[in-house]
Structure formats: C-alpha cells, structure tokens
Symmetry: C3
Subunit: 358 residues, 3 copies
Amino acid sequence: MKIPVMHIPGVSDTTDETRTPFPLDQWYVAALSKELTDQPLARTLLCQKVVMFRAGDGKASALEDRCCHRALPLSSGTVESAGIRCGYHGMLYDGQGACLEVPGQDMIPPRAKVKKYHILEKDGFIWIWFGSDEAAEPGFAPPDYPLHSDPTYLWDGAAYHYEAPYQLIHDNLLDLSHLGYVHLKTIGGDAKTHMNAKMDVTVDGNTVRVVRQMLNSAPPPTYTAAYPFEGNIDRWQEIEFHPNHLRIWTGAVPVGAEDISNPARGGFHMRGFHGVTPETESTSHYIWTIATNPVSNHDEILRKVFDQTAATFDEDKVIIEDQYANMVSFGQTPLVSIHVDAAANRARRIIDNLRTIR
Amino acid sequence: MKIPVMHIPGVSDTTDETRTPFPLDQWYVAALSKELTDQPLARTLLCQKVVMFRAGDGKASALEDRCCHRALPLSSGTVESAGIRCGYHGMLYDGQGACLEVPGQDMIPPRAKVKKYHILEKDGFIWIWFGSDEAAEPGFAPPDYPLHSDPTYLWDGAAYHYEAPYQLIHDNLLDLSHLGYVHLKTIGGDAKTHMNAKMDVTVDGNTVRVVRQMLNSAPPPTYTAAYPFEGNIDRWQEIEFHPNHLRIWTGAVPVGAEDISNPARGGFHMRGFHGVTPETESTSHYIWTIATNPVSNHDEILRKVFDQTAATFDEDKVIIEDQYANMVSFGQTPLVSIHVDAAANRARRIIDNLRTIR
Amino acid sequence: MKIPVMHIPGVSDTTDETRTPFPLDQWYVAALSKELTDQPLARTLLCQKVVMFRAGDGKASALEDRCCHRALPLSSGTVESAGIRCGYHGMLYDGQGACLEVPGQDMIPPRAKVKKYHILEKDGFIWIWFGSDEAAEPGFAPPDYPLHSDPTYLWDGAAYHYEAPYQLIHDNLLDLSHLGYVHLKTIGGDAKTHMNAKMDVTVDGNTVRVVRQMLNSAPPPTYTAAYPFEGNIDRWQEIEFHPNHLRIWTGAVPVGAEDISNPARGGFHMRGFHGVTPETESTSHYIWTIATNPVSNHDEILRKVFDQTAATFDEDKVIIEDQYANMVSFGQTPLVSIHVDAAANRARRIIDNLRTIR
C-alpha cells in the first residue's frame, strides 16, 4: 500500500516547487477568544510572526509582529485604546496597521505602517485567513461551530504547541485505534476492541468522515469518572476531518440502551474541536476545545473531562514529537501502511491536493 | 530617509567582501581591571578566543586560548608566577606566549608557542588591540579616561553580554528618547518630554556628539533616590560616540538653579563609560562603568546609582535582544527612520567607513 | 613531529571519501549487561539508532529503533515475552525484527519488519557488530574478558557519554601522564614523577602496549583510601589499546616489597576495562568497568574504588569535552606533539589504517 505524499520537513519533498508547505486560501484557528486579554498575544502562524490584540473597542486585530521603525516585536509593547504602541520609541498603530503617532514628530512618514491580517472572531475562536494572494480578501467565511452556544453543553479549551508538523497530528486524530495503546489511563480501553472495531470511512469533497462503534465494551476511566455507568457500554467515535480542523464526537450509552447510530442518542458525550494550525513547516499549534453534557455537578464534571482530555493530549504530544524526531533521524525510509491508516491516507490526499500550486 | 549600511548578521551584507565585520586597527575594551584576579579569564573578542591573566608581576597578558599541544583552552589551566600552565599535560607559557616548560622533556619544540595579543591596562580597563595586520604593533594608544581618577567621583562597573550585534547597542545609547518607554522605573521620565527634547547632533571625525536638555521636567526615580531634589529639574544628556566606546554624561540641577550648558554645573551627575566590544558578528560584550558625585553617604549613593543603572541595562538587553531576534526572523525588510535616529545614523556611517577595506 | 591522521569532526578530513569515520568489521561495546532490564534501552551507536531489549527468554536482542509502520521509536514501546511492541498502534516484533502481530488485521504485510543487529552478551557486556557489509555475519567473536569471572576481583561499571569524538578518549587513556595535572584528588600524584616516568611503548598488530613504572613515589588518595600503605610505593601502569576498547592495569606495592614487573605481583590492584564506542562522529559512549582485589571490607573497598574512578572520569570528561569544543572553534590549526604522545600517535595510525576503505 503506497502512502500518499506527506510533507515531513527534513524527510520528504521539502524542495518541491510545485507545492506550498501548507494549504492556502484557508481560515486557520489563530487563538481561543479567551487567550486575547489586555496584553498583546504573539504567535507564529504558517511561518509568519503575528501579534494579536484587542484595542479599546474589544475588536480583535492581527498585525505583523514587527515595528516598521527598528523592528522590535510589537508584542513587546502595550495595548492602548487606539491600538498597539511599540515598547522602544512609542510608535502607535491601529488595528489596520496604520501608524497613528510618532512621538516627538508631527509628520507620520508615509511608509510607516505594518501589514495587517484578516481575522474574525466567532464561537470562541479567533480565525485568521492565509491567502495565496496576500492582497485579496478572504473568499468565504470561516466555519461555524454552534456547539459552543448549545446550552446542553459545557466546554473549555487550550492551546498546545507541538514540535512536529501538522499532518502527523491529523494522522493521530484520524486513527483512534491508538487509544488502546497510548491512552489507557483516560479514554483508552481494551486494545484489541479498539483495533478490531468496525470502521466506516467516507470522503466528501475535502471532508473525511470516520465512524467506529465498540459495542458491549468496558468503559474507560474518563467515562466512569464522568458518568454513572454500571456495566459495559455501547461506544461510538465519529471523526470529521477538514483541512484546518477536526471535529470528534465520542460517547457511550449503557450497553443495549439505545441505537448509538442515532445522532439524538443520550448517554455521555465528549465533543472535541481540534484546530490544527501550522506554526512552521516542522512545528504546530493544536488549539482544542472539549464539550460535554453533564446533567448535574456541572463544573466538576466539566473540569474532570477537561483535565483528562488535556492529559490525553499530553500523551499524544510525546508520541507525535518522538515520531517526528525519529522520522528526521532516519530520513526518507519507506514505511508500511496497515488497515487503520485508511482515513489518514485519504486526508493526506486532500492536503496534498490543496498544497498543489495551480 | 535612507538608513545607512549596518551590519546585521543574518539580515544584511553578511557576504560583503569589501568590508570587515568590525572596525579594525582599534583598541577595544577586553575587561574591567577588577575582573582579572588570580584565575584565567576567557573571553571571545572579535571572534577570537582569548585568555587573559596576571602572572606573578601583576602585569596583564592576553594569549590565544588554546594550548599548542592538544588544543585544551589555556583558561582551563592555572596561573603561576611565571605565566599560565595548561591543565592537561602541564605546558607552561609566559605572557608573550613563549613555552617555558614541557614537563618530562628537556627540549622545548621550536613550534611550541601560542599567539599573544597586545593589551594595555589603564584607568581600570584592560584594552586590547585588533589590527588589520596581525604582525604590526598598535599604531596609537588607547583612549584616556581620567574620570576614574577624579576624587569628586565614585564609580563601579560590570561586564554584560548581549545576544545582539554591537551596532544595535550603539543605536540604543545614541538615542536616549527611549528612556520614556523603556526605563520608567529608573532613569525614565515623561515620554513626551523625552521625545520632544531639543537635540543637537554634531560630528567631528569619528566622533558623534549629542546634547539634549529637558528643562523644568519631573525627576525620574533614580534621581530622587540619589539626590534631594524637591521639585522639577533642569536635566541634560550629553552623549559622545567613539567607534569603540561611548561616554554619556547625564545629570540635573533644581529647575532654574544654574546654566546646565556650563560643564562646571553642580547638581546630580551620572557619567557612564560604555565599552561596546563585538564578541562575534551577532553577539557583543557591553562593559560599562557608572560614576556619580555623592556629597555624603558615599557608598550608599554609589550602590543605588550602580544598581539602578544595572537595572536599566537589564531592560535595554531585553529590548535589544528581542529586536535582533526579530530582525533575523524577518530578514532584509525595509525599515523607516524617524527624527530620533539622526545621531545613530551618523554613527553608522562612521562604522561603515571604518569597516571598508582599502 | 607530525601528528598522524585523526578524525576530528568539524576540524579535519571530514569529507575524506577514502575513509569511514569509524573502524568497521568490529565488535563494539553496546551496553553493560546490567543496563538491560525489563525496559527497552535506546542507544545510538556508530550513527545508528538501536533499541536493545531482553524478551521472555532473557536473551538480548538489538533492532533498528523505528517501527516500520509510522516510525515511532520502538524504545517508546514495551517489552513482552515474545519481543517488543510499538507504543503507538501495537505492532509486535521478535528479536530478529520479524513482525509477529498487527493488531486488528490478520495479514502481516510482507514488508513489515525492522533491521536487526548482531549482538552477543558475555562477561557482563553486550557486544554489537558493525560490518562494512551489512548483510554479512560477523567474521570473528568479540574479545574475552575473563577478569569479570575471576574470584580474586570485585568489579562494577557504568556507561558515560562524552560530547567528543572517540579518538580523543583514546588519547586520554593512552597517556596517563595527565594524572598529575587532572586527577590530583583521586589517582594523581606528583606531576613531575608522572611526566618523567620511564615509558615503554610496543606495537603488535592492532594492539599498543604501554608500561610505565613510578618507583618510590607517594601514594595518591585513592590508593591510601583503599589499601593500608604506610609509606612510599612502587607503582605501575600498564595500558593495552585495542581499536574497540582499552585495558588498564594499575597498582602498587610498598616500596621495594617485590618486583612489580612480575604479573603475579601482590599489593593493591585496579584493573579497568574501557569500551570506547562512537555514538556519532562527534560524540561517544564510554562504557567502563573497574575491578579491584580487596582482602577484607569487600563491598566498602569496591564502592570506594568505583566512586573515585567515576570521579576521575568525570574530570576527564570535562577536559576532553573542553578540548574538543576548542578544536572545533579553532579549526584546522597545527598542533605540536611531545614525548608523552608516543603511544597515542601509534594508536591513531592503527585507527587510520582500519578506517581506510580498501
């Protein structure tokens, strides 16, 4: 089985001039809304150093993180009502990157401005647009995520950083069969049950969907910690891949209680949003939220689910970073695909196609 | 306004074969006298690894920091009455780099010697000469600094290390308008007052002089901590740039008390010596002293002035290192000059000229 | 005196295509037997990433440290009765690198296997073979070290890591004249006595032997700590260099008590085994044991001798790493040989010859 083209910096196709390292003309998750307070937030996104801030009107802005005077990061400066002020000689910029003030001189030099990025805040996320034509406006809106406004659910999130390229995170999230080996302490379960679970993979445009069901299986630690399961469970995992993020809906009902193929099913739910945003060609931001549906002890259950999800991603981070470091050490050596790679391989074809320069 | 040529490694003109990275045929500050005790002192200066030491006669010497036998740094060895002894097999060198002893063998191989540097100690500094012709003697003497012998003043100093090229330190010291943004806790003051202060810039050969006066301004924290000012002050900043160091004479008198243009003015004085010595093309030594004129509580006032000056330079270090890292990230992107850059731009032209190979 | 060719990465002959960086067709020490427990042991040897483990039968195995599925280091996995299981998706390999199981699928892909290394455990060491022809079987057996089974001796050992190429460790061990400068706190002694000791160097094939005797000399700290010497001693140092390891037999008797040239001599003995195994071209493993012959207080004396030997090697590590870093800084600059280098220079010729591609 041939593994589709994958951009592994230091390993494969790094000098391919027919491809960009990342899909462009996409919205990516730049931050969680809650990360943007009264301080500037510096983050490198798709190899570009960006500073984000909220000026007096609360509106989020994103500029190139570099004062045009002597190149100090604007993120070393301070946020004011009108915009962001450089911490060296006090030049002030608004959210569009226009220079509003050069302290000590009346005339503002015409070239005194910094590049601005298109960003848009909704559903608790700050989305940022990276276009193949920098001058062009975004061609469409960022995706909706109404779950964050659904009163049935409580949610929280965090921004993680990985020393690994973004496609290895896609691989990891598209193949939950690793739960039985990597995540025994939280959302794992019997390894054989996981590996043998029936898996339906479908592709629709740039979306890949995976549905797995593990009927009559033992509940893993996070499930019993958050829900009063008394015996075995019927468990589902539904993954939806998009080029800029994944949505993973997992959960369970007591064994035989109802049809878990029905989206209106009850029981215990964990619904994850996984923004996978390249930082550089070899490092990534992983900006995630987890939502759950506690019927009582709301805050306590949310805290448990959040903490155990974070612990799970800490485990993934170790694996994925070790994997990438080893790939770089060994270089371009053939790998072997197995049955669990079906969805990941399809996602790779989508990314590969989106990276092709037309 | 075009910014004069500046050597920013990783950013600009790094492969220019008509220029040396640093001005040569110059004395540079290698160390403070007090740093050279009974231990060897290793320091890389203008990309050369140097070991300095005082043998039994107290005279300072400087050699290449590498035993000619098996390349161990001589600075890993020990200082003896006759010179410095390698810590591996005990070869002994005098201050001229001649091998005096090869333990266990009578004959000293003719090639057994290490390169010596011209150094000269005066005024509390160890000066070192770097010539374009390594074999030539220094063409002139290092500068005098009689202030260190002036009984009106007490002084102390320190050697700092910057992860930034030397010219960014020149920029910083030649433009004190940043005090109102960077040094509010010590020698700052009202930002607008600083940015709008009248500034006279004059050039004389390889010297740039800057005079700024801030009349009737509020005294900054260091000033009130060290001198009994009761209201506003008339404040001066006088900067003298030389290719290897800067001298900055700042101070203040009570508002209207006397003419601060008169060098015999009274009041509170802080006089800084700033040796800026390249370590490598992208890192620098910043070896400074600060002198002040307490009329009572001498040691306490000196300690306050020294500590607050050190705190000020700690703040500068953060800014300058962030600035350089950002310049490297962004590469050769155009910058915009403003009014406060006048003196820094003139110093850049002097350095540029001194770097040109004739 | 010309110094024989030596491979100092970053310094000399690194692009020489007529030579391999290390002697091949050799057994090297990969580990001490005691290091291989119920966990996988990852170690890079001659630039190859190897995982070692003992499966259920206790037999040591060594594989390439990379799962053939998605490249995770196998050393991140777990050891089972049948072999080693990858920690990501659970693929199981036996000690020959054959894949025994792909969880969730019946068919094992024919290409699913990892490279195995020839290893052999004896005398408390795990030896590994690196051949110029990877497919060929080892041409001979690893060396014997019967001392580890000699009831007169107690021994222990450790694996050290050096940020320096292997030949600098050879140099260090072949020239014990440095004891008087580097190891004054343990096995040193008077520097002049060491440097002036008579030294016999003989070469026999790929073996270099050095014999030094220091008659009527003062006992160093380790000797008096471990043996009831009451006055001066007659002391010997006998070094045997092999391309993959050295054996150093040192010891002493009370002055004049007996002929120390007789291998059946009594007194205090320290016998070291020094496996010097390249990790990369610029880093090394130094896997050593020390044996001694206490007549009473066995464990206490062994502990003292081991601890002081470890302290001695800690000192060597500092010197050798400083030496290498300085060599890299200064590049290809000529060095000068002295009398103590005779044996080291002969060993270099042997290594140089073994590195030549025929």
